[in-house]
């Protein structure tokens, strides 16, 4: 018997992830991104509340193109995490846990999230 241990097939690029699984890992990634952005949210709030100068500073910063891109990504993460979260809460009360509904709602979350993010970006600025 050879001494090397048994191989395991776990190449994530070769394993097909169903749509609900894609939505799920995106929900987790979005959550981590939002978690990392908490200090920036706090900083923004702090600056905006520090006085009129600070408020204008925050406003100007947010209007920068690079900040608009970052803001879109954060709004997308928020939208996805939010919509996926609603989907999970509904599944918790047994709504949409059966086939084919759970796949349909997963698609809906994936497609609506960037659209919602765009809408929010447009509406906020």
């Amino acid at each position: 018997m050879p001494s090397h241990s048994r191989p395991v097939f776990l190449n994530l690029l070769q394993i097909r992830l169903p749509v609900a699984g894609i939505m799920s890992i995106a929900h987790r990634a979005a959550g981590v991104l939002l978690f990392l952005s908490i200090p920036f949210l706090a900083a923004l709030l702090s600056v905006a509340l520090s006085g009129q100068a600070g408020f204008l500073q925050a406003q100007t910063l947010l209007k920068q193109p690079i900040m608009q891109v970052i803001l879109f990504l954060l709004l997308w993460a928020l939208s996805h995490h939010f919509l996926a979260g609603i989907r999970y809460l509904l599944i918790d009360v047994h709504l949409g846990v059966q086939a084919p509904r759970y796949r349909q709602t997963a698609w809906a979350v994936l497609i609506l999230s960037p659209l919602l993010a765009l809408l929010l970006l447009w509406g906020l600025w």
């Binding site: 959550g31 200090p39 709030l45 509340l49 009129q52 509406g123």
Partner: protein, 100 residues
């Protein structure tokens, strides 16, 4: 369970704030300060950040429990995240206290 409960509050608060920012954007610093310093809004905001930190803690803790197996490394990761969130919490608390 706390993850779900905090999620519901966070969802409600975020929808409210985003709607407010979209339909009645604060023109200047005074408007923002006045809005946040009102007792109802101030309490709701404080509760928001408490719920956010709790929700974030449960979420990231789950991620660490899933992926980080080595006991020492896991403890370090959990402690780091906890300290990070606690620091953010204290910072936000000082910001909010400054409004009173």
């Amino acid at each position: 369970m706390w993850q779900r409960a905090s999620a519901i509050y966070l969802a409600g608060f975020i929808v409210y704030v985003l709607a407010w920012l979209m339909f009645t954007p604060p023109g200047d610093h005074e408007v923002l300060k006045y809005w946040l310093a009102g007792l109802g809004m101030w309490l709701a905001t404080a509760l928001f950040f408490l719920a956010l930190l709790l929700h974030a803690w449960i979420g990231v803790r789950d991620v660490i429990l899933d992926y980080v197996k080595l006991p020492g490394l896991r403890l370090a990761a959990l402690a780091t995240v906890f300290a990070f969130l606690l620091t953010c919490g204290l910072w936000v608390a000082s910001i909010l206290m400054g409004l009173l």
